[in-house]
C-alpha cells in the first residue's frame, strides 16, 4: 500500500507543550510512523531536537524584539508556548508556511487547531494539495461559549477551507455543527488513544501526603473550560462527610488566582493544594498517588487525561460533557454542574475499598484497548479518502 507524505502544522510538540495537544500530536505522528507514513512536522519554535520517527521543522515566529513577552501574563507558566503576542506569532507562522510548502515534498496537509489553520490554508493554495484540519477543541469549548472573535474567525476559515475535518468525539462534532456552518459529512470522528509504553506508568509512586491522606486529583489547565471551580465546590461537599482528604489542583492558568480565593472563601484552603503545572513523570506520579481523579470539564472534546488516569490506575470521574466518555465505560460520569453527584461518587470511591479496586482493575484493563495505533490508522484512512487513493 502506498502511503501519503504528510506536511503537518502543529503548535505544540513535547517538550514544547502546554497541554494535551502536544501529547496528541506526538502520539499521532508516532502512530503514523508505525504505518510507514512520513510526516514533516512544522512548529513555531526553532528547536533543535532529534526525534527518530518524524522530521521536525522549527520556524522562528518571533518578531524582531519580542520574545520575552511570553512571560508577561501573570498566572501562566514561564515555559508557555502561547506567548503574549500570540496573534502576531500565528500570522508570522502562516507567512513562513509559504516557503515550507514550496520546499518540501508532500501529498496532504494536516493542520492542528486554529493557530495553524491559516498556515494550512496558504500551503494548500500554493501546492494544490488537499487540507485536513484537525480540531482538538473549538474556541467555544475553551471559553465556555465566550469566543474571542478573531480566534473564532480563524477557526471558521480553517473549517470551511478544509477538504476534511477530523475531530476527537461525536460530542465535539456536534459542537462544530452547532457553531459553524460546515457539512456534517465533512467531519470525521477519530477517538483518541494513549501511548501504552511509558516507563512512568509503573513507578507506583506514593508520597508522605498520600500515605497520610486520601487524595482527590484535578489535573488540567486552570481555565474556565476545565471546570476547576466545580471541583472545589464538590470538594467542599465531600469534606462535610470525609476527613483526611486533600484535594490536589495540578495545573496553571488564568484562573489560578480565582481558584485560590475560592478555596479560601469556601474555608477549605487547608484541604486544597495547588501544585502549578506538572510535566513529564510528575503527571503520572500525581495520578498514581491519587485515590480518585476528577475531570469536571465544562466542554471537553476528548480529554486525554482521562486515559492517563486509567493507565496509571487512578479511578476516574468525568463530566458527561466530554468525548472520552464516549469510549470509556469503567468510570463515573456526571454533568459538570452536578456537584452533589460528583461529591456522592468521590465519597463512594474514598469510602469503599471494593469500589476503588474494581474501578482500578477494570479501568486499566479497558484503557489497554485504546492505543495510539488505532487512531493513527483511522487518520491514515482519512488521508486516503481525501486523496482519492485506495487504502
Amino acid at each position: 500500500m502506498l502511503n501519503p507524505k504528510v506536511l503537518m502544522f502543529g503548535w505544540e510538540f513535547p517538550p514544547f507543550k502546554s497541554g494535551g495537544l502536544g501529547t496528541a500530536c506526538h502520539d499521532l505522528v508516532k502512530g503514523l510512523a508505525s504505518f510507514d507514513t512520513k510526516v514533516t512536522f512544522v512548529m513555531p519554535s526553532n528547536l533543535k531536537k532529534d526525534v527518530s520517527f518524524v522530521d521536525l521543522v522549527g520556524v522562528d515566529v518571533n518578531a524582531v524584539e519580542s520574545s520575552l513577552s511570553a512571560y508577561a501574563q501573570p498566572g501562566d507558566c514561564p515555559d508557555s508556548v502561547y506567548g503574549f503576542d500570540l496573534f502576531g506569532e500565528v500570522e508570522r507562522y502562516a507567512e513562513r508556511s509559504v516557503d515550507i510548502a514550496k520546499k518540501f515534498d508532500f501529498d496532504v496537509i494536516h493542520a492542528h487547531d486554529w493557530m495553524t489553520y491559516k498556515a494550512g490554508i496558504l500551503a494548500k493554495k500554493i501546492s494544490g494539495k488537499p487540507l485536513v484540519v484537525h480540531l482538538h477543541a473549538t474556541e467555544f469549548d475553551r471559553t465556555a461559549n465566550n469566543p474571542h472573535p478573531h480566534v473564532e474567525f480563524l477557526e471558521m476559515q480553517g473549517l470551511q477551507q478544509a477538504d476534511l475535518i477530523i475531530t476527537n468525539s461525536f460530542f465535539s462534532k456536534n459542537n462544530i455543527l452547532l457553531h459553524y456552518d460546515v457539512s456534517p459529512d465533512k467531519i470525521k470522528v477519530v477517538h483518541w488513544g494513549i501511548d501504552q509504553d511509558n516507563p512512568a506508568y509503573s513507578l507506583n509512586f506514593s508520597s508522605e501526603l498520600s500515605k497520610q491522606n486520601r487524595i482527590v486529583l484535578f489535573l488540567g489547565r486552570l481555565t474556565i473550560q476545565k471546570g476547576g471551580d466545580y471541583f472545589l465546590q464538590a470538594a467542599k461537599k465531600v469534606l462535610e462527610f470525609e476527613e483526611n482528604v486533600k484535594f490536589v489542583v495540578a495545573g496553571s492558568g488564568v484562573m489560578m488566582h480565582q481558584l485560590i480565593s475560592q478555596a479560601h472563601n469556601l474555608k477549605i484552603d487547608d484541604h486544597v493544594i495547588f501544585t502549578g503545572a506538572l510535566k513529564g513523570e510528575d503527571v503520572h506520579k500525581a495520578f498514581q498517588m491519587s485515590d480518585v481523579f476528577v475531570m469536571p470539564s465544562v466542554s471537553e472534546p476528548f480529554g486525554l487525561v482521562a486515559l492517563e488516569s486509567l493507565i496509571n490506575k487512578a479511578p476516574l470521574i468525568i463530566s458527561r460533557q466530554s468525548g472520552a466518555g464516549e469510549v470509556i465505560k469503567n468510570c463515573f460520569k456526571v454533568d459538570f454542574w452536578d456537584i452533589n453527584k460528583m461529591a456522592n461518587y468521590i465519597v463512594g470511591v474514598l469510602r469503599y475499598p471494593a469500589l476503588k479496586r474494581e474501578l482500578k482493575r477494570n479501568g486499566f484493563k479497558e484503557v489497554l484497548a485504546h492505543d495510539i495505533y488505532k487512531p493513527a490508522k483511522a487518520v491514515l484512512d482519512i488521508y486516503h479518502e481525501v486523496l482519492g487513493w485506495e487504502s
Binding site: E240, A354, E358
Partner: protein, 410 residues
Amino acid sequence: MYFQVHQPFRIRKGFSIFDIGKSQDYFDDKKNKDILSKVAEKCYLPANNVLLDALNSFEGFKVAFSITGTALEQFRDSSPEVLRSFKALANTGRVEFLAETYHHSLAFLFDKEEFRQQVADHLRIIKEFFGQKPRVFRNTELIYSDDLAKEVSKLGFKAVLAEGADKVLGQRSPNFVYDAKGSGVKLLLKNYRLSDDIAFRFGDRNWQGWPLTARKFAEWIKNSEGDFVNLFLDYETFGEHQWADTGIFDFLKSLPAELKNAGLEFFHPSDLIKFGSKVSLSVPELVSWADTERDVSAWLGNDLQKSAAAQLYRIKGAVLRSDDAQLIDSWRRLTTSDHFYYMCTKWFNDGDVHKYFNPYDTPYEGYVAFMNVLNDIVHRLKRRNFLGSGKFTAKVLKKNKSSVKRKRGA
C-alpha cells in the same frame, strides 16, 4: 413447564450521601410501578390469557409458576388486575405453585436462618393468595448445590429444581428424575437446550431452527430421550424478551394442542416424583441457570458484589433486634439478588443481556446507590443503639462540627 415471575423493588438511583440520615425513601416507587405496568401489558396479562384459554380448552394441560413475594406484593399494590389473572389461573386447579425465597434472595449462601424465614414468608403469601402449599422448591436463579438439597429436605419439600448443566450431568440426560445426593429429595433438572430454544433463540432469524413452530417443537420433544422434558422459563420470555411480533404468543397458544397431538402429556413438577430415580447426583459446587458459566458469578463475581453482600448480611442481627417492621422490610428488599446483578462487571464491557436488565448506566453506580441505602439503615440502627459505632464506616452530615472531630488517621 414452569414459569418464573419476579419483580424486584428497585432502589432510587439518586439516593446519595446527602440523603443518609435524612430520607428513608429508598425505593423508586414510580419506576417500579412503570416497569410493572409495562411488563403487565406486554407479558403477564396477554400470556395469562393464553394460558387460561388453554387450561379451559385442554383438560390435560398443566403449568407451574414460581412467583416471588416481591412481585406478588407489587401486583397487589399497583396492578391488581395482574393478581386477579394469576388467581384465575390458580382457580382452574391445574396450576402448581412452587416455593422459593420471598425476596428472591441469595440468603441461602449467607444466612441459613434468614433463608428459612424467607421461605416461610413465601409459603405464607402463596397460601394466602392461591390457597396452595407448595411441595417443590426452586431457589433464586436456580442456584443449587448438595447443601441446598439437604436444607430443603429439612424444610419438608419433596423435590427441588436445578439447572441441567453439563457440569452437573456429564453425559446424562436431564429428562429423568435424579436423587439429590444425601438429602432424600428428588432433583428436577432443566432441559436447557429446549428451554433456551424458546427463551433465547425463538426470534433469532439466523438460528437454523427459525422459525420455530409449535409443531416442530412438539416433534423435538417427542424425539427426546427420557421420561419427560423440563421447560423452565422466565415468564417475561413471552412478550418482553421475545416481543409479540416474533410470534411468541401464537407459539404459546398452539403449543398445548400440538403437544397433545404428538401424544405427549403435561405434568406438574410434583407429578414427576412418581417416575422414580435411578441415579443419585452429587453437586458439591454451586450451579445456577445464569450465563455460560452457570455459576453465581453474575451476583457474587466481583469485589463490589461480595463486599455489598457481606455488609448487608453482617447487620442482620441488629436489623431484627430493632423490631421495626418497616426497617426490617427495607433490609429484606435489599437482599433481592437483582441489586447484586446490577453490580456485575463481567459482561459490562460487552454490554449484552445484563445491560438490558440494568437500570444503572454502570455497575459502579448500582453499588454506590445500594451502599448509600445500606448506610442509612446502619445509621438508623446506630442512632437507636442497635449497632455499636466503629464497625461501620457510615458517617452522616455533621450538624455540629466540633462535637464530632475525630482523631486523624483513626
